[in-house]
Amino acid sequence: MNQTNSNRSHDSFWESFRRIKALVIKEYFQIIRDPSTFLISFILPAILLFIYGYGVSLTITNLRIGLYLEDTSPEAISFAQSLTSSPYFEVSIGQSRQELEDQLMRGNIRGMIIIPQYFSLFRGGQEQLAPIQVIADGSEPNTARFVQNYIQGAWLSWINSENILGSERGRALVEIEPRYWYNEELESRNFLLPGSLGIIMTLVGTLLTALVVARDWERGVMEILLSMPLSIIEMMVGKLLPYFILGMLSMCAATAAAVWIFHVPLRGSILLLILVSGVFLISALALGLLISTLAKNQFVAAQAALVAAFLPGFMLSGFLFEIASMPWPIRAITTILPVRYFVSSLQTLFLVGNIWPLILYDMAMMVLISGFLCFLISQFTVRRLD
């Protein structure tokens, strides 16, 4: 009795293996016959890495600012010189206030500094401070804030150097020693590239899967598959396994490019990186499958993948914009996005190392979300069979 039972389960395991294998072979041919699959798994990631590696830089070097001196006292000129010699600014000297305002309106300069006529007058007095006007183009707040901060920094160091020249005692009383751990040079690409791997995996995992399965629904292939002696689990595994492998290959290629071409340090273990990526990829695939199951139409699936995976990966994953600074409803949304946990793990594995508590927590969250997505998929697929 026991013997037959175990035999039967043994058989059914092989049966199910055989069925999954057949489905995998079918998907395999579908993948290699369409060049667009190759395009999205290797070419698009390469382009994205390239752009993040070279194009997206948060390090400001040449802020274009305008300067207009209504007052030409020695102090004003000394301040102007300290600005023009700074590597952060590209200073253009204006001939009039009007000219600079016009340049600011056109967006040719990011901000302007005006030393007013009454600058020397005020400077002589005891009570009042001599004003320097700094106007930044607020229509681009990020740059505007940089402009104001950098000009303030230049002003402070100018004061300090003036004081040192003027009197012996005056120097900065409190010195700041900043230390940027794990990215000492503040290289933008060192933290952008690991984060962008999250977006690349989303492309393969969610977008490609959503499209492929939606196409199968559109063409009626799914109905045929559902009518076959396949369980839903077998079908999901057979459908997703080829894309899982494709996604992992794409991930390996992207990691190799990041490490060898862009020289991003990889301080954690590769095995752990592969494990974390695998866990994330499962959640991405599950999301893709859910989208296609609900959409059944490639146009809708493409839009939904864009909204549910690609743009959140870019905007809400914390790799470019700080999650803590977002308003609370949006922070709440980010907690259900697997990509958020993946980006945190990626940045840690690349730049810091194997920080187990953090990575285990991230993985646990991703597993939880994948489980929930799989539950939803099985719910919706069963209903369709009715």
């Binding site: 667009s36 752009i51 070279y54 194009g55 183009d137 707040p141 146009f299 600074s325």
Partner: protein, 369 residues
């Protein structure tokens, strides 16, 4: 001819609008994205947790730390007992920054010797770290100056008067919402055109169009006009939401904005048709669309300024229509720019529109023959 094109336009619009899911996907997601991303996409930093190690515990250091506590940027301050706790604190992302004050701090200050404050920042989030460092140095410098004027060393004689024009309170969504008008319009227009021909090819209805008495030019126009119409409708929807729900000040001319959006949508539709003319299946069309979409958003100057990019990428961004419309939309919303500035950014998009449409019509005809 006109009536034949009109029929085709009607059919195209119906293909998108008649399907409940397509209709839903054209309206709801752009609005959702507008609301979520407008509030999310900020490089500013607020509400972050930081750690503090104070080995000094003198009067001066407590005074300095009180200033950190008073700042709205730092929502939660954790006091660490020793330097050894800094590494686990940063590594496990309990906070992005640790302020470390050594045992000499108060003594040095009272002796008018330079005192040191160490800031340890998490380089994994280099951008946030740099901005935090900016805030922290403002606090420390202010403290230093105030202290100097109390003990009358030397007080500065100049002052900076800092102002932000066009957006005095530096509200980030004033920047994001106008940018989103352009980006989301582009997404809608690109997907509609990118897929329209490919879907017909895949379903075989394109052959039916070809055997109908329509010329290739008429078919092309029948694809372009409804796509522009849908793109403009999408833009209008987002504009209305931006002006009435977000209350973004609108200081320029609405007519100029619509003319610019029209040229922009035409250029996007041209690119979409070009992608469509090259692809055989919907999947290829969608992937081609993404291939254009992601670089053009990343290199548009929306997230990071174009002048930060290397020279040759700046050159490449000249063929990106999004680059120009972002300047126009922001300019018209916030700055109220004049016609001259708009025209400067309008003609490159017009060229992109014409070139891409000519190219796609060439490829269509090429493939039809």
């Amino acid at each position: 001819m006109i009536s034949r094109i009109l029929t085709l336009i009607y059919k195209e619009l119906w293909a998108v609008w008649g399907d409940k899911k397509s209709r839903f996907i054209l309206i709801i997601p752009p609005l959702m994205q507008l609301f979520i991303f407008s509030f999310a996409a900020t490089l500013d930093v607020q509400n972050v947790s930081i750690g503090v190690v104070n080995r000094d515990n003198g009067e001066r250091s407590i005074e300095l730390l009180a200033r950190f506590q008073g700042s709205p940027v730092f929502s939660h301050i954790t006091y660490l007992d020793s330097v050894d706790q800094i590494t686990p604190f940063i590594d496990n992302q309990k906070g992005v920054m640790v302020v470390s004050i050594d045992e000499q701090f108060s003594r040095d200050l009272d002796a008018s010797a330079p005192a040191k404050v160490q800031l340890i920042l998490d380089g994994r989030k280099s951008n946030t770290a740099q901005i935090l460092m900016g805030y922290a140095s403002l606090i420390v410098n202010q403290f230093s100056q105030d202290y100097a004027s109390v003990v009358s060393v030397t007080a500065p004689t100049t002052t900076l008067i800092q102002r932000y024009w066009f957006n005095p309170n530096l509200i980030y969504y004033w920047y994001n919402v106008p940018s989103m008008v352009a980006i989301l319009t582009m997404v809608v227009a690109l997907l509609v055109t990118g897929l329209s021909v490919a879907r017909e090819r895949e379903m075989g209805t394109f052959d039916q169009l070809l055997v109908s008495p329509m010329t290739p030019m008429e078919i092309l126009l029948g694809k372009i006009i409804p796509a522009i119409f849908i793109g403009m409708a999408g833009a209008t929807l987002i504009l209305i939401a931006g002006i009435f729900a977000f209350r973004i000040p609108f200081s320029g001319s609405l007519i100029l904005l619509y003319i610019s959006l029209f040229v922009f949508v035409s250029s996007v539709v041209g690119v979409g048709l070009f992608v469509s003319s090259l692809s055989n299946t919907q999947q290829q069309a969608i992937l081609g669309t993404y291939l254009f979409l992601s670089p053009s958003v990343l290199l548009s100057g929306f997230a990071t300024p174009i002048e930060n990019m290397p020279h040759w990428l700046q050159m490449a961004s000249y063929i990106n229509p999004l680059r120009y419309i972002l300047v126009i939309v922001r300019g018209i919303f916030l700055k109220g720019v004049n016609t001259e500035v708009v025209l400067e950014n309008l003609w490159p998009m017009a060229i992109i529109a014409v070139v891409s449409m000519l190219l796609s019509s060439f490829f269509f005809r090429h493939r039809l023959e």
